[in-house]
């Protein structure tokens, strides 16, 4: 047979490699990581699934512009440290993103392989490369350009603030991040539990930023300690980036919401994550351990909360959501993990009031059944109450996880900063430029509650805009 006639060797189809996970019935009793990461062998096998598209569809899906085929190729060559460094050319928080990004909506969504089968596990690979570099002690600082002499203040050390800081410092600017809490990380430290993002992993990435030269000042509340004008004036900063998040919790305004045993998700998670109240009394901050915990809401925060309640010993940890499973805004992986861990779901259910025992503690919650009606402005079918379907649930912990509002601390002391009718800062969607000269803003305080990666994306765009702006500032 001539070579021409030889049948093409059929490439064996390798399925998407699953990341090892802790057993659900074990992990719902501890705060160790759920996902255990790829081995090098699994990572290489998964990386080889990538067909290295000439015009990759994944890259435009990544708000922080990672050279996805580039780093995956390096993994196939077993150049794991180089792969991590490739990612860090544009993203200084790869171990975080590899864990918490909704990849199905970002890079993996448009992956060509996803059209007929499953997309490349880009997030898992990103996590693998970042973890490998860190665990090998191979984290190194790249060569930085000469100092420009410009100073930028970043308000809030969450994902948006850290991204802008990393990018600006790599352009040669001097950056100081002011953080209100006593630890850096913002929502990554107070909001996301240890079992999804270990603090040690987060702090290693903060440490990397500091090695790049970013200064982080904790216990620094802008709006109180310094105003924005003082940062630009007496403190000598040339530009300010505001990335304070959407920090104010929303409540439902139903009777009984101020009873003992009712929390905002922010409070419940902050106690557990930032203050480590799940380790009370070793740590001083206390936390209620419930038998029947309910969490109202269906987003990632609701999932983090309900899974925390389960880990703290709740017999029943239940999500109460007014629409159906199909409309849950949480990442699919989080929903699946929650289901595996024995989290219960009451769909098409809305709370009406919370009922008290004789001591002012939560005893029960009265709810009503809903049905889905016509689509609303969000495109999702609107839940409509079913008359006469009221019922009572026995509960001893209620956590409200229905979203957040803008925190007005900065705006109260910065009158010339334009805000919209919901109290968010008006920022140019491409640059983050605000109504105030030299002041940029991004992340949830501009868009309202969104995701870590979208905040990072806005930080990335703003870093460029701030860099351009600084060129116009006379020294």
């Amino acid at each position: 047979m001539s070579g021409k006639d030889k049948p093409k060797p059929k490439k064996e189809k390798v399925p998407r490699q699953h990341m090892r996970e802790q057993d659900p019935m074990e992990r719902n009793k501890n705060f160790e990581q759920v996902n255990l990461g790829y081995t090098a062998e699994l990572a290489v096998r998964e990386a080889n699934r990538c067909i290295q598209c000439k015009k990759p569809a994944c890259v435009p899906g990544c708000p922080v512009e990672i050279d996805i085929p580039g780093f995956i190729k390096l993994i196939t060559e077993e150049k794991f440290v180089e792969a991590a460094r490739k990612i860090k050319e544009t993203n200084c928080l790869p171990a975080v993103c590899g864990r918490v990004c909704p990849q199905e909506d970002q890079c993996e969504g448009p992956c060509v392989l996803g059209k007929k089968g499953e997309p490349v596990a880009i997030g898992h690979l990103e996590r693998f490369a970042a973890d490998y570099e860190r665990e090998q002690g191979a984290v190194a600082v790249p060569e930085l350009p000469p100092k420009t002499g410009y100073r930028v203040a970043v308000v809030g050390c969450g994902p948006g603030g850290m991204t802008v800081a990393g990018d600006l410092v790599m352009m040669g600017h001097e950056v100081t991040i002011f953080e209100a809490l006593h630890k850096p990380g913002g929502v990554l430290v107070y909001g996301i539990p240890e079992f999804r993002l270990p603090k040690a992993v987060l702090y290693a990435e903060v440490d990397y930023l500091q090695k790049l030269g970013v200064k982080v000042e904790t216990n620094a509340i802008i709006g109180k300690m310094f105003t924005i004008d003082e940062l630009l004036g007496q403190e000598g900063f040339d530009a300010v980036f505001i990335a304070v998040g959407a920090g104010a919790p929303m409540f439902m305004n139903i009777p009984g919401e101020n009873l003992n045993g009712v929390f905002s998700a922010n409070e419940y998670l902050t106690r557990s994550n930032l203050m480590k109240a799940y380790q009370f009394p070793e740590y001083d901050t206390p936390m209620i351990r419930a038998r029947n915990a309910v969490v109202i809401g269906g987003g990632n925060t609701a999932m983090d909360t309900v899974r925390t309640a389960k880990r703290l010993g709740a017999e029943h940890a239940t999500i109460v959501y007014r629409r159906s499973r199909h409309e849950l805004p949480a990442r699919e992986e989080e929903i699946m993990h929650a289901e595996e861990e024995g989290i219960e779901f009451k769909f098409l259910t809305a709370p009406l009031r919370i009922l008290s025992d004789e001591n002012g503690w939560v005893r029960a919650m009265e709810c009503i059944q809903m049905e889905l009606g016509e689509p609303d402005e969000s495109g999702r079918r609107r839940p409509v109450p079913i008359k006469g379907s009221e019922f009572e649930m026995e509960v001893d912990l209620v956590v409200v996880a229905i979203g957040t509002n803008a925190n007005p601390l900065i705006m109260q002391t910065t009158p010339d900063l334009e805000i919209n009718k919901w109290g968010y800062i008006v920022g140019d969607p491409e640059t983050g430029a605000t109504s105030k000269k030299g002041v940029f803003a991004g992340g949830d305080i501009v868009t309202g509650g969104a995701t870590v990666i979208l905040a990072m994306g806005s930080g990335k765009k703003s870093a460029r805009a701030i860099h351009e702006y600084l060129q116009t500032v006379k020294k």
Binding site: H182, F251, T270, P281
Partner: protein, 276 residues
């Protein structure tokens, strides 16, 4: 880290600390507070700023031992450092010339009432102070209060010093004497503030109370400190800590501040055992 530069005992179990915190010292106004976390495993607790010295870059806090953290705080001495101090937090006291201001402090609340008395005095008011304590040995800040007041009344629960009774009895005396009061500020335990409001309400005397709600971040992020004022939910950390006392739901507040009583007791006991 925030260094303690001076310390003295105001009374048994109540310590006065002067702490290096220059950025807070410059900004701080009467009625504002800080959040303190003593050490890595510590909780965040709110403490009213008693005084400050912008030149020295220091603030003053008064701490009464009531649980684990406040007990641990008593063991901090001059030269020791506190891990975290954040502030200044909360809205300042609305200082203006009201006329005659009666400033009431109960227990360690007297130390917290002092900066308000001082600022009200500087705002042109005639200050009459009432200091309440369980017993003579626990009467604090008498000298400081006298320095900013035209009259200081003292009440003790056991009658060992001053009037035998509560701060409300002292307040009632002032009213019975026909004193025209324009504003009352009361800081102390919840039952005391509630009782003061019950006295002033029939006379329609504007009464400010400073609420000692449970807080974590104290920047409006968590909502632990929510309190019902005039039927609406407010956050003591950013909307307060001072509110119109006639509109505060004290019964709800009483329940909310005792939410962790059992756990707090346990933590305190464990700490005391650890000292043995």
């Amino acid at each position: 880290m925030f260094e303690i530069v001076d310390k003295r005992e105001l009374a048994k179990g109540i310590a006065w600390f002067e702490i290096k915190a220059p950025r807070i010292a410059v900004k701080r106004q009467a009625g504002q507070f800080v959040i303190v976390r003593l050490q890595e495993k510590g909780e965040r607790i709110p403490l009213t700023i008693v005084d400050s010295d912008a030149k020295k870059g220091t603030i003053v806090l008064a701490v009464q031992e009531i649980g684990k953290t406040t007990a641990e705080f008593q063991h901090f001495g001059i030269g020791d450092s506190i891990l975290d101090v954040v502030g200044p937090l909360g809205r300042p006291t609305p200082i203006k010339n009201y006329g005659t201001a009666v400033i009431i402090g109960g227990g360690v609340g007297t130390a917290e009432a002092y900066p308000i008395a001082k600022a009200m005095k500087e705002g042109g008011n005639d200050i009459i102070s009432i200091i309440g304590a369980r017993t003579k040995d626990l009467v604090i800040m008498e000298k400081e209060m006298k320095a900013v007041s035209s009259k200081v009344k003292i009440s003790t629960d056991d009658g060992s010093y001053g009037l035998h009774g509560f701060v409300t009895d002292a307040l009632q005396q002032l009213l019975d004497e026909g004193l025209h009061i324009n504003v009352v500020v009361a800081i102390g335990p919840v039952p005391m503030m509630k009782a003061v409001c019950n006295v002033t309400k029939p006379h329609s005397i504007k009464t400010l109370v400073s609420l000692n709600s449970i807080m974590i971040d104290a920047t409006g992020m968590c909502g632990a400190c929510r309190v019902t004022v005039d039927g609406k939910t407010k956050f003591a950390c950013v909307d307060g800590p001072e509110f119109d006392g006639h509109k505060v739901d004290f019964d709800e507040l009483t329940k909310r501040v005792s939410a962790y009583m059992e756990m707090e007791k346990k933590s305190y006991e464990l700490y005391k055992q650890s000292l043995k």
